[in-house]
Symmetry: C2
Subunit: 376 residues, 2 copies
Amino acid sequence: MYTLLKQQGRARRGMLETVHGTIQTPVFMNVATAGAIKGGLSSHDLTEVKCQVELCNTYHLHLRPGNDVVRKMGGLHKFIGWEGPILTDSGGFQVFSLAKLRKIEEIGVTFASHIDGRKVFMGPEESMQIQADLGATIAMAFDECIENPAEYDYTERSIARTTRWLMRCKDEVARLNAMPDAINPKQMLFGINQGSTYEDLRIRHMKEIAELDLDGYAIGGLAVGESAEEMYRIIDIVEPHMPEEKARYLMGVGTPLNIIEAVRRGVDMFDCVMPSRNARHGTLYTWEGVRVLGNAKYMTDSEPIDATCGCSTCQKYSRAYLRHLLVAKELLAYRLLVVHNMWFYNTLMKRIRDELDAGTFDAFCTKYLPILGERI
Amino acid sequence: MYTLLKQQGRARRGMLETVHGTIQTPVFMNVATAGAIKGGLSSHDLTEVKCQVELCNTYHLHLRPGNDVVRKMGGLHKFIGWEGPILTDSGGFQVFSLAKLRKIEEIGVTFASHIDGRKVFMGPEESMQIQADLGATIAMAFDECIENPAEYDYTERSIARTTRWLMRCKDEVARLNAMPDAINPKQMLFGINQGSTYEDLRIRHMKEIAELDLDGYAIGGLAVGESAEEMYRIIDIVEPHMPEEKARYLMGVGTPLNIIEAVRRGVDMFDCVMPSRNARHGTLYTWEGVRVLGNAKYMTDSEPIDATCGCSTCQKYSRAYLRHLLVAKELLAYRLLVVHNMWFYNTLMKRIRDELDAGTFDAFCTKYLPILGERI
């Protein structure tokens, strides 16, 4: 259950209670696609980097090791050793971005696995079954993630189908939660708003799915190539139609700037591969801006990545050593740098929550929006 | 200074006092080639896996990041964040195994870097200078690591030159240790016995270098393709000529069986990339034998790798999860599995020391030699 604690402008400070613990929002969910953060972070490290919610992937875990395996092991929490909340995305986005040879029908999507080309079918019921096997805290609805740009007519037909799929998801989650062997009988379901960049379709779809009284609502299909301004415009027009008393999740977003701008527009939850992917390439977030560690000027720099940072990497290692590990392609580099970036993102969210609690979020935005995107 | 505490047969229980702490022997040194254990272990993890000595590589660190960089950063201990003893090998082995286009002269070796083809010269003085810049606890002499098999005549000329090089190394270490800006003014020097598989040359060379009164002596040029039996034969004939009151180090060896057999023959120190390399391929050491984690039978196995193991991986993760990470090529797999194998090796050595302390080492060998090499 989501509780709105405080508001500053449209920015919301809230909390989302789940069977696996209470999530303080705004929150950034840490992406562990196949049950592990890319770069080598363990569940122990996730606690250390102040992760609140781990996000795992229905599509990847279905293909490997298989949701049947995870179910046999007692569900994802037990399998990966993480007791906190887990959100699983539905596989919708991956079916449309990773898989090949897709065939979309009313019943669902047939596609070829990106791992071995094997033919796989996934529809709303299959996605919900997989997420039930995983025992996720929050399941995401199975939707069509439309390509950008998309034709108006196609988008209109697609969102109508996504609504029908959502109703099937809702029924299926209710059925699966009632099963005597349900791994998480209180699994929550979030719906996903689509509609490409068409304002009227976005609004129409949001109104339709809002009526289904789900546990939360996501804005999907953004951060797929459109400009940041266009993304903000879509949030601006959709947000007034999102139920106030439900958590709001902007999928796959984004940079620290994107996140702050979206919080200002009333979004509560985020996820993105950017902090871990950028870390593996030596692009590091700090409170002074973005530091590119490969730069030769760091070769004998004994300072930590960010002197104000509390992460274990900044407590122990110099820019010089980290740069050396990165250049030498030592796996330790990826891990230590991902620890830093995940800590930064989770700390950024904590800072946003604190500023909202204190009523100083506007001043925070004025100070940090110009800084955080700078290359230093 | 090495102190022999106890002996059972030829097996020795001892300790080696250094400026960076006392090493209990027999000991396995954990290989961190370029200043990090392959697989993503940090200096914090090294403490956790009960590492006593870290082994780093003169050749690799000279090429990248450069010993000048490490010196500027205050030496290797400070650079990598490890306070315990560090042994650096001399670069000799790598010059002869990794580098291309070698030219060997009395003054030293000219070779092309395996990283960028750059022409590099290294002789005894250069190797000692690099190891002084690194501030290693123990420096290894610069030797010629002869190919196997080698001609008798060539081997004879080579060991004579290696002895001359060793005398230059000894003089250079004395000179560098006396420098006012020495990073470790008490750097120790170990000599290296060579002689291919020729018993008379091995003995002649060992007698020559024993006279130089160094801090320790290594047997080099083994584990390069000869059989285990041949390796044991060489140890058997060299060992009686190694000074009793000095530490003895068998370079680049080996499996748990090799190590136990060498301890039985009077060796004190070991190093090998095997535990970390095998871990990255899912080959894991246990007290019941060698477990190959990729095996399909582990797909839903909720047991740890080894139920009797105290490592953090075995405390937290199932074979099923670790196998999944390995198959999915998640970096976390490499790290968690390397933690296990390093723990196993370090614990094996602790067990050997305890059995020597208790006078039960023979019974230990009788029980475990048949088991440890088995595939289970």
